[in-house]
Structures are given as C-alpha cells and as structure tokens.
C-alpha cells in the first residue's frame, strides 16, 4: 500500500543553492561576464539562439552561463523565456541575396562572382590542440584586402540555364503556418517543416543528414553554396504605412543542390534542399538542407524508405526541448506507477509459481 507524501522543500532549496555554488566554481578565479561569453564562446551562443528559436546574443549568453555550459539546458531556459514576451508581429522575409557576406563557399563552382570567401573557418585547420591558448597571448589583427564584386547567389547562376528548380513555392492559396501558434499536424507543409528544422537539434539533424549520405534515402547532394553574414530585419509599421529596419541578425544559409528529377511533363533538372539558421552554424544549415530535401518525397513522388524521409518521425523528434522534457521526466518520482507495476508483477509471479507447482504435481502423479 502506498500513501501520498509531501516533502523535499528544504532539500530542493539546498540543492539549488549547491547548484549556484558549483556554477560559480572556485571563487579565487574571476567570474566570466556575459560579454565574454558573447565574444569568446560565440558559436555556443549561436547554437542556443538557433535551437531556442530566439535571436538575442546577450540573453543566449546568459542562458549558457546559467546552465553551466549545458547547451540543451540553456536552450530550454531561453525557449521558456520567450513565452513571457508578447508578440509584436512578423518581419518582412529577410533577403539573403543582399547579405553582408562574411563567408561564402561553393563546392559546385570554382570561379564564381564574389569568389570563394573562407572567412573565419575551422576548415583546413589541423584540429591539433593549441597549447598557446593556455596563455593569454597577443592575437594578430586580421589581414585586410580590397573587397571584390557582389557575392552572387549560386542558385541564380544555374537558374539562368533552367537546369535547377526554382527557389520553392507553396501551393496556390497556402496560408503560411507558425509552429508557435498551432499544434503540429501531419502531413506538414514545407514552410512549417523548415521552421521546425531551423530550431531542431543540431546533433539529431546531423545524424539524419549523415544517414542520407550513407544510403538511407540518398539525395546525391552538392553544396551549391554556404554563406554566413548579416541580413536586415524589417517590420511593417501600420501606423506609418511602411516597413522599418529593426537592425541586423547574423544567419547561415545553405543551398544544397541535389540530383535531378524529371518526368514526361518536366525536363530533367537539379532539385534543391534549403537550410537557414540563426547565427554562424554551417554544420546545422547543411544538415537542415539535406533533411529538407529528403523530406520532399511527396513533391517528387519518392518512396519513403528511410527515417530521414519520414516527416512525422523527423519533425516529431527534432526538438530537443520536447525530447529532453520527455526523457528526463523519467527521473522524477514515479513511486505510485512503480508500486502498481510491482504489485502486478508479484501477482503474475504468484500465478506462474502456482501453475508450475500444479504441473509438477501432475507430472509426479503421471510418473507414479
């Protein structure tokens, strides 16, 4: 028999006090500031913004610090914070063609307008631990050069020949969905899927993208381009009758070009997958574009044979706040549930033992 109990207030209060102590760590070391996190752990901040689906570098840095560097905890905190704020409206769509490009590479064209701009990349580093970073040594200023021509979008180059599908349009009369306003429903349209993928867990999307490369729903991808940089966010002000700029956000965009499709009605052309993510995160943007393409099975009449093509599977499990909530709730008290199960298994065991004893008696009798 189980009787409901209350308690734990003092233990919880002391646990949280202990958490605050451990978060601060050795008091003889200086405490890290939010600006230091923003400046020196910028990609952690970017990941938290992207997966919390809230662009605010300072708040994301605060969340990283509060969570002791636990990314999913930080994402959870920031996602929870956004529910406390009113929604002012929807921005005009950002224009990535006019991005202030800080990095742009294409794997499909060597010489293209704007060139291959490596930017601040980990690529071509040797991934060797750098002991010089243990010391707080001087860091050289970046090299500078006269900027070149406008950084043209790769999809526009191929588009000129009609060899690639267009940017992507929803069916006539489609009303744009918003995951934060309506419950999820399947089948889910591509605009909603992209919203879900943009805030999806980087590790989950990376694994799914990897699975498509290994043969589980192959899409034969090429990186048309990856670009990182600032875009302007504009909001329409009804009081004035025009849209005004609110400032700039840094985003990463990936145009994945995939093997061609064609039919009796349509000439063969390359298909595309699209990735767009808050902050600097090309791993996430690339993964997103691979998964976006894999999920477009209905548009290309492809058979769903792999997990990455199954939109209900992918979208339902991409959100790490939901995932961690459900997995981690298992550690909370389930005393009553477990007592019920225990009671049940005891009864089953009694029945089993009784049945076994009965049959053994029967065998004994038969032998006699």
């Amino acid at each position: 028999m189980y009787v409901a109990v209350k308690g734990g207030e003092a233990a919880i209060a002391n646990a949280h006090r202990l958490l605050a102590d451990r978060r601060r760590g050795d008091r003889t070391l200086p405490s890290i500031t939010i600006q230091q996190v923003v400046e020196q752990l910028g990609l952690a901040v970017d990941r938290v913004m992207a997966e919390a689906s809230l662009y605010d570098r300072e708040l994301a840095a605060l969340a990283v610090r509060q969570a002791r560097g636990d990314m999913i905890e930080a994402i959870f905190i920031l996602r929870a914070y956004r529910t406390t704020l009113p929604r002012f409206g929807y921005s005009e769509p950002v224009d990535t063609a006019t991005m202030k490009v800080e990095r742009r590479v294409s794997a499909t064209y060597k010489d293209l307008p704007g060139g291959q701009l490596l930017g601040p990349t980990f690529d071509y580093t040797h991934r060797l631990l750098d002991p010089s970073l243990i010391e707080d040594g001087a860091v050289a200023e970046p090299a500078v050069k006269e900027p070149g021509e406008h950084v043209m979008r790769v999809s526009d180059i191929l588009d000129g020949e009609g060899l690639i599908e267009g940017d992507g349009h929803m069916p006539e009369g489609h009303v744009m969905g918003d995951l934060t306003r309506e419950p999820m429903e399947f089948p889910m349209a591509r605009d909603l899927r992209l919203q879900a993928l943009a805030r999806g867990d980087e590790g989950f999307l990376l694994a799914l993208a990897y699975s498509t490369q290994r043969g589980y729903g192959r899409t034969h991808p090429f990186v048309g381009e990856v670009r990182i940089g600032e875009v302007e966010v504009e909001l329409d002000l009804p009081e004035l009758g025009f849209a005004v700029s609110l400032g700039v956000v840094r985003v990463t965009e990936c145009q994945m070009v995939n093997q061609f499709m064609g039919s009796a009605k349509q000439p063969p052309q390359f298909t595309r997958g699209y990735g767009l993510v808050f902050g600097q995160s090309e791993r996430k943007a690339m993964s997103m574009s691979l998964v976006d393409r894999a999920l477009r099975t209905d548009e290309f009449s492809e058979d769903i044979v792999a997990p990455a093509q199954d939109q209900e599977f992918v979208i339902s499990h991409a959100d790490n706040v939901q995932a961690t909530g459900f997995v981690e709730h298992l550690k909370l008290p389930h005393y009553v549930d477990f007592q019920a199960e225990l009671d049940l298994v005891r009864r089953m065991r009694r029945d089993y033992d009784a049945a076994r004893a009965g049959s053994q008696d029967g065998m004994k009798e038969a032998a006699e």
């Binding site: 662009y55 409206g89 699209y274």
Partner: protein
Amino acid sequence: MDAKLKQEIPPDMARKEGMRLLARASFEELNAAWAALAEKPDVSPVRGPETGLVMVRGRIGGGGDAFNLGEATVSRATIRLSTGEIGHGQLLGTDKQRARLAAIFDALFQRDADRSAVEALHRTIASRIEAEDRRTAEETAATRVDFFTMVRGDD
C-alpha cells in the same frame, strides 16, 4: 479602399532611412546627441518602452515563399512631443532606453528646428556602420581563394 489610399501615399524615405540608422545607434551615440540638444523637448509617452518578440521570416530557397525562421527580441517605444509630433523607436534587443531615445529622435526629425541636429546624429551612426561594414568586407576579402593552375608535368 484603405489599402489603395495607403499605396498612394509615398513612404517617407528620409524618415525610414533615419529610423533604420536609429535602430542601430549605440546608447552612447543617442545619449551624446541628447546631451548636445540646446533645448530639451517636452516628451510624453504614448506606448512603452516595452520589449517583445518579432517572428523573423525567411524565404524558401532564399527567394521563394516565406516561412517563419524564429523569433527575435525587439524593444519599442512611441512618444509624443509637446508640439504634437509622434515618434516611433523600434530595435532588436532588450534595451528599452535606446528604443525610447530612438523614438524621441524620430519625432525631432519631423520638427524643422531640430531636423539638422537629428541628421547629424544619422550621419554619425551611418559613418560608424559604414566603417564597420567596410572593415568586415576587407577582412573577408583577405580570405578569398586565388586559384592557380598547376603546371602539368608532361609539358
């Protein structure tokens, strides 16, 4: 009918550009311009300052139909000057003080007597942004790959 009327009024491009710059002004820039005003205007709040969210949209494939990318924090304020001009300030982030100052300068921009002072502030902000963008573009340009063709061994 309303929509048609709205379309016929050309947007005030100078004000729009001014608001774009004010949204990116630092607190120091706004505060210095405020301190430099010979006569401080009489300001009363109409709305805010308040912080909320704007859902940032992207386009499928970069140029296709729109989708919701994720939200951003936005602070905004609307003020009225004693002379009647209404000013709006709105910018990314949670800095309500900057939003309020931006609204005041948006209102002052509409007042002939203060317009040149606000334009001076616009120029200060614009030249800083331009210098920052220029610097970033130059740093990026230095990482551009210059391909060269290797000489073939059988030549």
